[in-house]
Symmetry: C2
Subunit: 244 residues, 2 copies
DNA sequence: TCTTCTCAGTCATCATACAACAGTTGATAT
DNA sequence: ATATCAACTGTTGTATGATGACTGAGAAGA
């Protein structure tokens, strides 16, 4: 498999050049996930792959390094490279999907809602007084930011994240934190103006306050309900907005 | 007599010698995630890092390749290596945490519960007749497996996954699928025997049937409730079991 | 039988060289 | 004076040879 003149008119997205090492890594990834290389089996040795793919050791090694970083294989000095027998380590990523921008946002929001509704309930059960204090602080900072005319999206997210941390469940908090960047930097801004903005913000603040109070009261059902109402409204808003 | 029992325990929790490239990759990762290298900024050139870390170019390049595979940086030939402007691409992984085995299981289960409860509601709203048919099939396969004495954990998960897919939300389904390996291969088996097992399985089947029926009736509230009951019981079971 | 040694195979690292690409500079032609 | 282009510098990408470190198994020795 010599180089097959891949340079002609490949799909030249803005990204452009498909590095050889990425090419090889992709092929190996396909072999593994396609089941042709079962967990525990040994990959061809470096020299074998050098011949098989017709590339240099540099390329092969960088490809293996990439797979190894994903936990898909692990290399053992003096023995060889083996497919991980515990594929549970391969990471989870959102976004390499062929959804429209609208579906993308809506689905992320639904995912977020599912998690946060229950998280609010857990937080209400388990929040420490320290948690409560920080949640209230985050609430104040959010209100302050919005009052001073800022977007407040970051403070909004910080409020939600603090609630997730109050669940005492590190995985839930970690996942919410992971979801953050997918939610915050939405450039599609709803440019509400003047009085309309006031009304909108007031409703938003009330929803947030309801959540905060339910958690303060350690009222699980109320916290779940308040969070569901809050996120459902945001979801409906997004659904209609991006529709146009 | 060469029974191919290469089932080695891959318990290499502490790899005696962390590879140099992984070491460097870790340091760079810390610099980036710690905010010392802002998105868009250029990393030191390869030669600079060679000096700075006192390693060879091979090591530096493999470290960068690993980060690049995670989407943390992207290298451009002739220009340099840059911190990704959209850190939203860095993957999510569970497990590299220092939780006890018990907390690990319980927290994963809680994460799963949060998602699946809401997913059941969405599935009830949106399931197609095709979805329903497959959910019912999965249910039958699960019952059949358990009746024939098998564990049935895989069929159980397949049932839940099929419900997640009925939400029509690819991200939710994808995440449930990701969670699968963390749930299924629990070796900590509760060796219930004889009649006790019968009773346990009967209750389990009834819970599953309730979920299935609620989804069939497109009754959102009932589906949520049934799923919550089902997973809460499983969670409580896990909590007490691993306690000992 | 048991221990020790040797050896071939493999990945890990180092070093060097060249190719491909991007940006800058400066000479040249008009 | 301006435009064009060639050369130069610095960067990542790829190729290659050499050496070290580690593993497993068989050979050699007691």
């Amino acid at each position: 498999m010599r180089d097959d003149k891949a340079g002609e008119l490949e799909l030249r997205s803005f990204k452009g050049r498909p590095k050889l090492s990425e090419e090889i890594a992709g092929q190996l990834r396909q072999l593994i996930q396609g089941g042709e290389l079962m967990p525990g089996t040994q990959l061809p040795t470096e020299n074998a792959m050098i011949e098989q793919f017709g590339v240099s050791r540099t390329v092969v090694r960088e490809a293996v390094a990439a797979l190894s970083a994903d936990g898909l294989v692990n290399a053992r000095q003096g023995r060889g490279v083996f497919v991980a027998n515990d594929l549970t380590q391969q990471p989870f990523r959102l976004g390499d999907s062929r959804l429209s921008e609208r579906d993308h946002i809506v689905q992320i929001m639904e995912l977020r809602l599912s998690l946060e509704v229950e998280a609010a309930g857990l937080a209400a059960q388990r929040r420490t007084s320290e948690d409560l204090r920080e949640i209230e602080d985050a609430f104040e900072r959010m209100v302050e930011a919005q009052r001073s005319g800022q977007e407040g999206a970051e403070q909004d997210f910080a409020f939600h994240l603090r609630i997730a941390e109050a669940t005492q469940n590190t995985y839930i908090a970690k996942f919410i934190r992971y979801l953050g960047p997918f939610i915050i930097p939405r450039p599609a801004r709803r440019t509400v103006t003047g009085g309309e903005r006031e009304v909108y913000l007031e409703g938003l603040t009330q929803e947030h306050a309801n959540i905060r109070d339910a958690i303060a009261d350690q009222d699980e059902a109320a916290a779940i309900e308040a969070m569901r109402i809050h996120l459902s409204r945001g979801l409906a808003l997004n659904r209609s907005l991006v529709q146009s």
